[in-house]
Amino acid sequence: MSINSKALTAALTAAAAVVLVVALGSGGFRHFDPALLGYAIGSVLAAAAVGYRFTVWAERPPSRMYFKRGFELFLRRPAVAGVVDRGPAASAPAPAVPHGAGTLGSALARNFVAQEFIRQRSSYRWIMHLCLSGGCTLAFAITFPLVFGWVHFESLLDNAEMYRVIAFGVHLDTFSIHSVKAFLAFNALNFSAFFVLIGLVMAGWRRCTDPGERATQTFAEDILPLILILVVAATGLALTVSYKFLGGHGHGLWAIVHMASVVALLLYIPFGKLFHMFQRTCALCVSRYKVVGAAGPRARCRRCAGDFASQMHVDDLKTVLDELGFDYRFAGPRGEVHYQDICPSCRRGLLALNQGRSIGR
């Protein structure tokens, strides 16, 4: 296997960026907790692997095309999108094209936060995924700032029951360890584990009972991430049980197991199913691509003349196919005909027509 130099650069840059933000956020490592070194090393390695994988993926011709077009279309508003010649068959006017920021904001809110597309697929899966993604996001949002030394707690010199919260060297808040605020802060990771466990139970039930999933699922892609998340959540809760109810018994062991499971999960992210959290950034570009394409010139099938896609999409796909080494061009007396200029419905008809012709029917 050859090393992709561009991806290697991205990997090293991502790893260096994590080290840099740790150094800057922790005041030159002054507030960095050495006990959390394993988590930090895991984060650096995971960042490098994500950087490598993301670059390799984003360099593929179709991904590259969407990212390139996405950036172009987000930055400019098609000035004449509403007056493009859409032909006599298009009775409805072209839809208005919102500003790129509007499309981006809407796509972020609907796809990433509300995850509407999953709700449309199944309410069960929506709740399951919200619990898993919400719980994991909350856990990472708490853990990373603590591991990186961005946030730390100090007790007051004259009152050990009062805690100060310091973020990036700035005093943010002071609270009593008996306050509701302290309860929420100290148990936030337990709350996240609770949400994650609900999601895991739902996911496990689905994996065991859904005939479609059972037929197509694989251990590495579908089961392993659930096991890893389960181990992280369970060992995290075991730490709380240990210091709350067992007087710290086994805390050291659980701490090591928990750290190992978190590092394993971090290192799994770039190589397995969970990488989709990065791949879905492409959906943002696609959302803009669709909005602009719907308002722009349309492609008409060269067989039935039906409007079947945006001309931009058809043209870009021809470029992508060329880059991938596919050549669906037919030589004709008046030049070439590209199969991309024929709609999918007509392609299905042509399959039957050509088969019928071949057997004389």
């Binding site: 859904d210 005939p211 099938c301 992508v320 007396p333 999918p344 042509l350 088969q355």
Partner: protein, 235 residues
């Protein structure tokens, strides 16, 4: 005893289709399809006849749909089955829908997910027939041992198609003439504008009012008839 999955093959003969739609109804019953029918039942040339043709995924050896997927969501397994888009990854861009040479993938816009025929993976992976082949009464869709086809059909199965300069090899077989080793695709004979400049809006005007204008490939015979070579089935 149930045959081993790898001893069974899919054979498609659209010319045998009687348009009963049993395959369309059965397709949705498959566990991996979740009530969505993946098969296409296409009218070959609606203005002049009622001939229909079932179109299932041909499961290309080098699937164009998977190659053009920006999210790397379409996977081919060890047995050569090309699956529906992975649900976490699919970004609903429709690249696969537009790029498939057989016009197979379906974009379910309401759920932002591409779904396609996966040869009823929950069934065929354990040696059962796909739902469509189970119910097809005319043998247009047959799933079974190659020996049966060789003994009972005049036509020969091929799994190679020539789309212009592109050769596509598939897991699914198409019944064709015994003289052919690959099914050559002719497009130009079926294009109504072949000997003149393409004017999509002229074609669009004559299509107005067609009952299935949004779905089918139809055109006005007065505009298109003379341009056919005479050897195709549109006559």
């Amino acid at each position: 005893m149930r045959p081993a999955p790898d001893d069974l093959e899919f054979f498609l003969d659209p010319s045998r289709c009687i348009g009963c739609q049993a395959c369309v109804q059965a397709c949705g019953e498959c566990g991996t399809h979740r009530g969505v029918s993946m098969i296409h039942l296409e009218y070959v040339h609606r203005p002049t006849g009622v001939q229909t043709a079932p179109v299932v995924c041909m499961h290309c050896e080098d699937p164009t749909c998977a190659k053009v997927c920006p999210a790397d969501a379409i996977k081919q397994d060890d047995r050569g089955v090309v699956h529906s888009a992975a649900k976490p990854r699919c970004v609903a861009c429709s690249n696969c829908v537009l790029a498939c040479p057989f016009g197979v993938p379906k974009m379910k816009a309401e759920i932002d997910l591409m779904m396609k025929c996966d040869m009823c993976y929950d069934r065929t992976s354990v040696g059962k027939k796909p739902m469509c082949a189970t119910v097809c009464p005319s043998g247009a869709l047959y799933f079974g041992p190659r020996k049966f086809i060789e003994e009972n059909r005049r036509e020969e199965p091929v799994n190679e198609f020539q789309f212009g300069r592109q050769t596509v090899r598939t897991k699914v077989n198409m019944m064709t003439s015994p003289e052919l080793k690959a099914l050559p695709f002719d497009v130009l004979d079926f294009l109504p504008w072949e000997d003149k400049d393409f004017d999509p809006f002229a074609l669009a005007r004559v299509r107005d009012g067609a009952p299935d204008v949004a779905q089918s490939a139809v055109w006005d015979e007065a505009t298109a008839g003379k341009r056919c070579s005479g050897t195709c089935t549109c006559h």
